[in-house]
Subunit: 275 residues, 2 copies
């Protein structure tokens, strides 16, 4: 009988329960996204399997942001309930890292109030997008940045990003979601708190966008459109019209997942990038 | 008949010849070292095959430093002779990068005087060694840094490194070479120009060592011994005695290849890290 079989025989964690919060970093390159998906390797699948082996009871993960295939995380946050008996958080983190690492690494572990929820307690999410803007690629950023060989005008990309700030309907930058449980349309209104481009030197560019929440493919779709303006394919002034079109076809191509990182999730008084 | 078969039928490049110098970066993780080695994937093997396909004649590469399996390069320098007819360096670099990238990337290509030799014209080599000194690993530095979970005393490692500067017999830090062509011992005297530790923050440490030349496994052996002192396993003052012992068993364990980068090769008035 393996530890996993024991876990399978304990369908629910034994009371008393502790709500545990983990900060998780991962290289998305080896995973078919975060969410569990039978038959493929996913971050939640691996983490859940390993946590169930260690804790010897069923584990239900909640995450702050369900990253797509190939998307990375530095400050992903997950919460779950653990049986409180013998709960040693440092040992838990070490065990997870020994079994999952280095592709998935627990950077912080804490017991939080029972009503703390990785997804619903979050005030905002901050994503980073990295671009290598040089004629030649960087072997150490393969799969971890978008290689754009032609020169980008960062000032134009800054101007183009400005109209995104504030609350808008982001239909032009999101994959159309399935209808809601009542059959009605799901709102794609989101509030963007900040947008910024950083030139790190040597042709390395970093885009940062913080919003209360994001819809599907929103960051990659925004980056794709901003890069179009940076390459001179569209004027920087066009982004307001794209936003107002509320039409997917008005936006540029979706940027590849390689450059995207769920960098930080912010909660009242706490942020996952510096736990 | 493929391009490669054509190359095979032209055993030597046609005159007139141009001496070409390339600066090459590579992630050593996917290669069994730099040097050609039949039956395994090596950097020189891949580069030579690709250059011969493009140039349609035999290519003999000379490199500034033969890196071992798993060791990376940012500023490796190679020279070779190319048939001068129709030699377009920008097109050559683009073609190599299209066929080799992103694991191996040509960062610069130039025609140099015929007596310029990647190995023998070099004044010095600069290696970097990266360490992640945190309890948990970094998923984005897996294979690209040495993860040392216990805290390192950087000041002790600085003190321990000081006696290495200058000209010494580095027998304690090198794999014993095969006897020379005359059956005599090969000298392991080398001149170290500088040694430095840099704390990049967030537990990232960077070691830099520059020498006119290095012997086999010298940097990894030095790093292994310095980390021993940083962990408190040896006193910092012991390094002078280790050096003077001229005995491999006096040094600590060899550090893993993951953290090592051939960063720059310096020639009269030119350095490969900023070509």
């Amino acid at each position: 009988v393996t530890l996993f079989d024991v876990a399978a025989e304990s369908p629910t964690p034994r009371a008393p329960l502790s709500r545990v919060r983990l900060v998780v970093a991962y290289d998305g390159g080896g995973f078919h996204g975060f969410a569990r998906n039978p038959g493929v390797r996913t971050v939640a699948g691996l983490l859940t399997d390993v946590l169930e082996k260690i804790l010897r009871h069923r584990v239900e993960l909640t995450c702050a942001g369900r990253t797509d295939k190939g998307v990375h995380a530095w400050g992903q946050v997950v919460t779950f309930d653990a049986s409180a008996a013998h709960l040693d958080l440092a040992a838990l983190a070490r065990s997870v890292n020994a079994l999952c690492g280095p592709a998935v690494v627990v950077r912080d572990a804490a017991v939080v109030p029972a009503d703390f929820d990785a997804r619903f307690s979050a005030d905002s999410r901050l994503y980073r997008y990295r671009i290598v803007n040089r004629p030649e690629a960087d072997p150490f950023l393969a799969g971890r940045a978008w290689h754009v060989p032609d020169p980008l005008d960062v000032r134009d990309m800054e101007l183009a990003g400005d109209p995104l700030i504030g609350e808008h309907d982001f239909s032009s930058f999101c994959r159309r979601p399935k209808p809601g449980p009542d059959g009605g349309d799901v709102s794609l209104r989101r509030r963007v708190l900040s947008v910024a481009w950083h030139d790190e030197g040597d042709g390395l560019l970093r885009f940062e966008i913080e919003a209360t929440a994001f819809c599907h493919q929103m960051v990659r779709s925004i980056v794709g459109s901003l890069v179009d303006t940076g390459l001179g394919r569209r004027r920087a002034g066009v982004m307001k019209a794209v936003l107002e079109a509320r039409d997917r076809s008005a936006a540029g191509a979706v940027a590849p997942p390689d450059g995207l990182y769920l960098w930080a999730v912010r909660y009242a008084g706490w942020s996952s990038d510096r736990p």
